[in-house]
């Protein structure tokens, strides 16, 4: 399946892009996607601990099972206000 991934804030600079599409085996988890992105973009691996993961508009944890067509977002701690 193809999963679309969006980066926000300085994660765009760390990834060197705003958005990318990642091919994954069916049944892959959000954690597996995160690991794959970190190996493609080492600067993001350094931020692994503080990375927030969302699917659509909901936060999800690494055990979440991805489905075809879902949009994933990776971003650093939020700073509104």
């Amino acid at each position: 399946m193809q999963i679309s991934v969006h980066f926000y804030s300085y994660f765009k600079e760390l990834a060197g892009c705003e958005r990318l599409t990642v091919p994954l085996p069916d049944g892959a988890t959000l954690g597996q996607l995160h690991d794959q992105i970190c190996s493609l973009h080492p600067p993001l691996a350094a931020m692994r601990k503080s990375t927030l993961l969302a699917v659509g508009v909901e936060y999800q944890d690494r055990a979440y099972t991805l489905r075809e067509g879902e949009e994933v977002s990776l971003f650093p701690p939020v700073q509104g206000g």
Binding site: H6, Y8, S9, Y10, L52, A54, G56, V57, E58, Y59, S73, F75, P76, V78, Q79, G80, G81
Partner: protein, 129 residues
Amino acid sequence: MHHELTLTAAPIDEAALLARRTLTAGMGAVVYFAGVVRGAEDGHAIRAIEYEAFRPMVEHQFELIFRQLEQRWPVESVRLVHRLGEVRVGEPSLWVEVVAPHRGEAFAACQFLIDEMKRLVPIWKKPLT
């Protein structure tokens, strides 16, 4: 509970927001918070902050926070405005109004709303020098 969320690139017009306040006869407390851009970030002088948002998720996360707030306190109304894009030093980036029967719940709900926003709502800032 009435709630109103505004994400805007335009300056926050506090006077206009104030003029649109409504409250019923059972409401005794209104708490406002204005968060203003300070002239320094991490000890370095700045001229502005640029706010970026993941808008659909901002809206959804605020909805979730409003729902929790409504379950915890008898708040009649919440209005929240957050600026996006460039906000100059001295200008408010955030404005919140909470209307409730008594002051304890108005203060608690207002602080909860801001704390939860800072924990969950996908908005980020970049200092501009």
